[in-house]
Subunit: 346 residues, 3 copies
């Protein structure tokens, strides 16, 4: 698997600067690179880190010229480095696996061409799966679900009844789509579950992280718009309607019936209350707690979350509060003394 | 599957106001309703939203009289709408499935009447399962667990050894009951796991959300009281004793050995520290961080959480702090001028 | 299974103080103990709780002498109590189970001696598993993964391709190692997933909680150092390098490319941003939000997190702010009056 540096340059169509015979035994980022590895530096600022790096060679774009280490210049550093990494650690090809006899597939389910189904998968009645899908082991697809083309479901994904999935969707291990919404009416001291007749609907090109949970709607869909990317352990409540091309980072929680526009960004651990609207291109800062609707294009952060300008003023004032408190006591004393003097003067 | 509006009125025993022959092709909430759908309006305030809705008809309670759209009046809007939705999207009947030959069930396990077990389920030694339970695919029930009657375990639920589950409990996909508690003693720089001999005990009518995790007790139970409802991705630490009829919303975390009374409510993303007590009917606001015991009946919020009155004062004062800071500087100047004048006057 | 108290004393090699014939029917902590149980009191301060406890006897260390209840004195209370609990609730012995014929194991996978593999497990091509490992049902180990000796993978754990696991590692149910990192480049309004060619590498003696998610690196490893303990539902982003002997409590989230030193402690629900460094032995308080690198040995808390001294001053000042606000208004009035008097006097 080892390659000479010259072969590496050929593999990526790059310009070699150094000895073509240097043996390269692996590929790693600067932080992790060891003797024999090739590494990458996509910005000139990384040059100083290269000095301490044990890598045998470095992949660079045309505007970076490292000193004291052989380098290969390419136009797209990341695409080229990926090619080298794939040489040293080839990716698994699932496509040829076919449908396992150890999967449990309802006779009424319909699978498209070139679908891969691993052992221990269960597929319920009337499920439809489009061509080119890869269904990893331990995935359970309940009755009535419809899945588009070229979808990948990683191990142990669960789709409850009637889940609808678009094309080219990727859902990571352990994610759960379609569990009951958290809606209760309290009658005579007991919490009674509301109707749970809806489902989850996922647009094209959506990606959903490991362990994420998206609850079904009460009567109809909880929906995720085309192109939206959802990170690990995110929770989306029942009846939410998430727009297109949102970025919802890890551990975000969105309560029921809230809607978001397009291109909304929520950083990690953000919490959003129920029944509000987050406008197009709004950005919600990490860990903020959103209690009211957010206008399109605005940036909110803090707990409770407010517009960024207001929050910055608050935070700045709070930072100076201990000092202001001292000054305040000084001022109280000065005023008391003035009052005393004025009394004397009178 | 389409129904005339008159047939819909008959289905729910409602009073028709409009043309009985209108074809109805589906049912959806106002936000999602399309041409041909019937929708519902449970409050008069929704009338304005109806104006923009494309639904062909609307289901209403007696005190709502919509204008410009055919409607059906019923006494219980939600129960009736559920009936209509179920007509258009029939629910799966699991009851007739029986016990799959592709499940792996210990010979010493005992299953009651009418238990449904799907393929790929594993059931360990000496497990007992009461009548009418539904065990979905990918569920793993480890040795010694005892499950009551009419319990539903959704796909990929894991019950560790000796878990005890009451009657009519619902546990959603991927929830894990009985993993090791997070208790370590640090000896010579290494963290050594404490005894992990306990189990998890769940009362009757409890519901547990997707991906929730409840750790076993050290020597005995971590227990969840009757009727308590736990949302997705909630974490409950070892030795906790959660009371009856609590509502623990999504992503709540409760550290070890904490106890709660009855009817406690924790909103989303609340964090509660270990070894404290949350009193009956206490309400903990979304995302708050609770560092001390909370008296019965109180409302706490904020980070760190305090009683609501105190927190409101703090938040209000903080909101006005930037303005107060300006005024403070003005006052400092005024006092300096007064001091100067007084000196001149003296 | 019942034992006389004298037999209990013999079992743990303890000194009996009371009637050897008392029947003992179970073992439970003071809070949970019922008639017939033996309980434990590891500190003298628990004596008052014992007064209200129904236990038939109590296990104590030499420096605790309870009144009014039979007791057994031992040198190590917790080890001895564990022995008693194990008598009443014997732990499952997995070791004899062997490799199930109902597991799906690639012919190119290599399993060491005494490996236990339960039904429904899948093991991919070229996977290596060291001796003494226990692989519970529903675990899926994808191609190229390498697992050390005496590792326990609880049900439904998922290891993506090329995961590397050290010796004596414990991973709890539903944890997911190696899902895609959350890295996107936005081109023409679409978020395009970055390269996902790396893997997850776990050191010896690491423990990982239920439902935790650790994403693969971009080109190389996301790594967890030896002896680190990770609680339930923790999220660790791509390219992170977590040091040795860290304690990461439940629901912590660490964004991509962040590194931690050794012996770092993060309490529950902490959030840490991407690309920063947390120094050796730093302690991050519950629920804090860390936006900048944290020096070794420091204690940070708050949102945004700061050093503890600074945060305590802020919090104290904030607590007194409502009172200060009142005093400020008084002071404003006093100054106005002084100004008036001075004008009169002039």
């Amino acid at each position: 698997m080892d390659l000479a540096l010259g072969d590496i340059a050929n593999l990526v169509g790059g310009q070699l600067n150094g000895d073509a015979g240097i043996p390269i035994t692996g590929a790693a980022i600067i932080r992790d690179a060891n003797v024999g590895d090739i590494t990458l530096a996509d910005k000139a600022q990384l040059a100083s880190q290269l000095a301490d790096c044990r890598a045998a060679a470095v992949l660079v774009p045309p505007d970076v010229t490292p000193a004291g280490v052989p380098f290969v210049t390419v136009s797209n550093v990341h695409a080229s480095f990926a090619k080298i990494v794939e040489h040293f650690r080839p990716q698994t090809n699932h496509q040829s696996y076919g449908v396992s006899a150890a999967a449990h597939i309802s006779q009424s389910a319909k699978l498209g061409r070139d679908v891969v189904v691993y052992p221990t998968v269960t597929i319920g009645d009337d499920v439809q799966i489009g061509e080119g899908c890869i269904i990893h082991p331990g995935v359970h697809i309940l009755a009535g679900s419809r899945i588009g083309k070229n979808v990948t479901l990683y191990p142990n994904v669960v789709l409850y009844e009637n889940t609808v999935i678009g094309d080219r969707v990727i859902i990571h291990a352990g994610a759960v789509l379609g569990a009951h919404g958290y809606g209760y009416e309290t009658i005579d001291g007991r919490h009674i579950l509301s109707a749970q007749l809806g489902y989850v609907s996922i647009g094209d090109d959506v990606e959903i992280g490991a362990g994420a949970a998206i609850d079904r709607g009460t009567y109809g869909p909880t929906s995720i718009g085309e192109g939206t990317k959802i990170d690990n352990l995110v929770m989306i409540g029942h009846n939410c309607r998430i727009g297109r091309h949102n970025l919802l980072c890890s551990q975000v929680g969105i309560a029921g019936s809230t809607t978001t526009g397009d291109y909304v960004v929520m950083a990690g651990q953000v919490g959003v209350r129920d029944h509000i609207e987050i406008g197009d291109r709004a950005i919600l800062g990490a860990k903020c707690g959103v209690m009211n609707s957010v206008p399109a294009g605005s940036i909110y952060f803090g707990y409770p979350a407010t517009a960024d300008r207001e929050q910055l003023l608050k935070q700045a004032a709070l930072s100076k509060l201990p000092e202001m408190r001292k000054q305040f006591k000084v001022l109280q004393k000065q005023v008391a003394e003035l009052a005393e003097k004025l009394k004397d003067a009178a």
